[in-house]
Amino acid sequence: MLEIKQLEFAYTTEAAPTMQFNLSVAAGEILSLIGPSGSGKSTLLNLVAGFLAPSAGQILLDGIAIETSSVASRPVSIVFQQHNLFPHLDLYTNVALGVDPSLRLSHEQVDTVAAALDQLGLSDLQRRKPGELSGGQRQRVALARALVRKRRILLLDEAFAALGPALRAELIEVVKKLVRDNNMAALLVSHQPRDALLASARTAFICAGKITALEQTGDLLDHSQLVEVRDYLGLV
């Protein structure tokens, strides 16, 4: 479904090497991306989202190239670690913005927002401001917005990094259901190998701007012979 082919990018301000990515993600799959800081994980997400423009290569969704589409028109939703919500708007409005930024919603769209809030267990909180919520609840709101946007690609950039282990596990289950039910392709960037284990059947290891391993998550984390992976996992 999502294919990234020979996608290249280099930061012009640093003497950094050209990054190059190749991978594919099936519909309903969450592919985890792990690797050391600065290896290029978030850069890859920014390229897919359109915040950065690649110097070469392709991003295909169901065979159609999207790498030249504008950010707004890409079939992508992203959830960051923080600052996903506008602090002065209540939950309902934060989610409704995902349907139409003018906030002129039809009855059907209002129902969609209500259903998304209900699905994420937020119905009772919809008039609260983000400041009145816990970290986990805030990320649920961001996921509810991703749900109403109905985009095929979901990007999670350290989305659960600020949460405790139990809450992370709970939200990963929410994301898995969301991705499965809506037939999305998701990329999950995390610093926690356990997140990858919980979320993904397959995990890619990124090092110095390249995907150096793409294996079954269990195999990668437990049996990889690659020095970089073992070094990253603290096994060397």
Binding site: A49, F51, A72, F86
Partner: protein
């Protein structure tokens, strides 16, 4: 504990002196209402049409000046925030810092040079009055508002711009959901600050207004003391001025979200359409031309004027030395007083007594509420029956200007000093690093930059003061601003222009000199 006590004693002394300089004159003013010869019945000015007219004009010109400064400043700040790659960005932002340093009377001369008879954009006689006052106030406050509002765009998290882009927000929606919420936090504070500055503006109104139709409370106080010799009227006007300023200050404190004096003005990355880019460029250039024009015109007029004749006069050099003397001593006393107050408030803060610490800072900023001319007129009525106040001009003018500069010291030095104290106080205690050694090895290297900025700001402010010196100064003790005013009064416009240029050069030299000599290169 002993250190805290020493700090408490020094801060207490500073506060006592502050109270003496600020509160004693006010007590004097209040007391005057009851002295023989000034029975309450005599204070019929309360009901007079003169008071009503002065009051109305004071508020009206302050309101208009505030609107004309802040509304365009929002557009210009937004344009600056969008145009991170604008080639003249740094230069223009430095230009926008100039009105903080340029003495009011110099700006007035610049405005006259551009908009006066024979100027580039001549408004003729209509310059004098509300038009001229507005132009000069906007010259000062538009750049100030831009510099205060611009950091608000930096408070918007980069992820919000990205989300806005992903959600397909158009320019209006970005303004509504991203920019306006960030801006509205600071906007009331900035508007009230500009309103207050325009309400208490003296030199501008004295030189460009001042007639019966365009007199403000501040100028009316001066006129009632210096020309009408009527302290009772000055008392009424001063109390009126004090009440309004207190009211504005209370509202400002309630909305207190004013950025610090000097914040690094970086840029944010956000999507800008090509048409918007052109509009931004146009806005920035128009604002730049508006601010640069008076200074440029003044420079051209002064260089083509009787430069050598003015430089050859002894009076100019006497005034220059007096100006420098007042500026440097006011800076010295202000920074010293601010240092002791802030040291104590930082200790209190670290001990968890944050309300007390805030109270100390607030006490240091009391002159926000009490305009210098109110202090001056209070001192005038308090001291003049006992001795010749004109003979004590220097200590009085230095003291009032030092007090006037204290809020600037607290705002520019306070955050760095508090941070320094919080980070290193316990380390210093464990190393027994205190007193001179603590200052030499820790505080001076880390704080010399904000110290330099504070001293430079106060010196520039004191050197440009026309209010207090106009009240107490004599032809022999004139500073450069007073000399310019006297030259203007004698219709010696070309000479006044040259003197204004010299004052501008002196102010900028002292500002940059102090900032460089004291500030040096920080180790922080």
């Amino acid at each position: 504990m002993a250190r805290l006590n020493t700090r408490a004693i020094t801060a207490g002394l500073v506060l006592a002196v502050l109270a003496l300089i600020v509160l004693a004159p006010m007590a004097g003013l209040l007391n005057l209402s009851g002295i023989p010869g000034y029975e309450p019945g005599d204070l019929r000015f309360w009901q007079s049409s003169y008071i009503r007219r002065v009051l109305f004009f004071s508020l009206w010109q302050a309101l208009l000046s505030m609107l004309c400064s802040v509304l365009p400043a929002i557009l210009v700040a937004r344009a600056f925030a969008s145009q991170a790659d604008f080639p003249l960005r740094g230069l223009l932002l430095r230009l926008f810092a100039l009105p903080l340093v340029v003495p009011a009377v110099v700006a007035v001369m610049g405005v006259v040079s551009v908009y006066g008879s024979g100027g580039w954009i001549s408004l003729g006689r209509s310059l004098y009055g509300l038009n001229g006052i507005l132009l000069a106030h906007v010259f000062f406050n538009l750049p100030l508002a831009v510099r205060l509002l611009l950091p608000q765009w930096q408070t918007i998290p980069p992820h919000h711009w990205q989300l806005g882009e992903q959600l397909g927000m158009n320019a209006w929606q970005r303004w509504r959901f991203l920019e306006w919420p960030a801006l509205r936090e600071a906007l009331p504070g900035v508007m009230l600050l500009v309103f207050m500055l325009c309400l208490t503006s003296f030199a501008v109104v004295l030189t460009l207004g001042g007639g019966p139709k365009s007199t403000t409370l501040e100028v009316a106080i001066y006129q009632s003391l210096r020309f009408d010799f009527d302290p009772a009227k000055a008392v009424v006007l001063a109390l009126l001025q004090l009440s309004i300023c207190t009211l504005v200050a209370i509202v400002t404190l309630r909305l207190q979200r004013l950025p610090e004096v000097e914040i690094a003005l970086g840029s944010v990355s956000k999507p800008v359409a090509v048409r918007q880019k052109w509009l931004n460029t146009l806005l920035i250039l128009a604002a730049g031309v508006f601010v640069a024009m008076p200074l440029l015109s003044l420079l051209i007029d002064a260089l083509g004027g009787p430069l050598w004749q003015v430089i050859g006069t002894t009076r100019l050099w006497q005034s220059l030395v007096t100006t420098l003397f007042i500026g440097l001593f006011a800076a010295l006393f202000s920074v010293a007083a601010g240092w002791f107050l802030l040291q104590y408030s930082a200790s209190l803060s670290l001990a968890g007594k944050t309300s007390k610490a805030q109270l100390i800072d607030l006490a240091g900023s009391i002159v926000y509420v009490v305009p210098p001319l109110v202090i001056g007129s209070g001192l005038f009525v308090l001291l003049s029956p006992h001795f010749d106040v004109f003979a004590w001009v220097y200590p009085i003018v230095i003291a009032i200007n030092a007090v006037m500069g204290l809020p600037f010291v607290i705002r520019s030095l306070g955050p760095a000093l508090r941070q320094n104290h919080a980070r290193y106080h316990y380390l210093c205690q464990s190393l027994a690093l205190q007193g001179w050694n603590r200052f030499r090895y820790l505080e001076w290297p880390l704080l010399r930059q904000p110290l330099g900025l504070a001293a430079a700001l106060v010196a520039a402010l004191a050197m440009g003061d026309l209010g207090v010196i106009a009240l107490f100064g004599t032809p022999h003790s004139a500073t450069l601003p007073l000399l310019i005013y006297q030259q203007l009064g004698a219709y010696m416009i070309p000479q006044a222009t040259v003197t204004a240029l010299l004052l501008l050069v002196l102010s900028l030299t002292v500002f940059w000199g102090l900032e460089r000599v004291i500030g040096g290169k920080t180790d922080a």
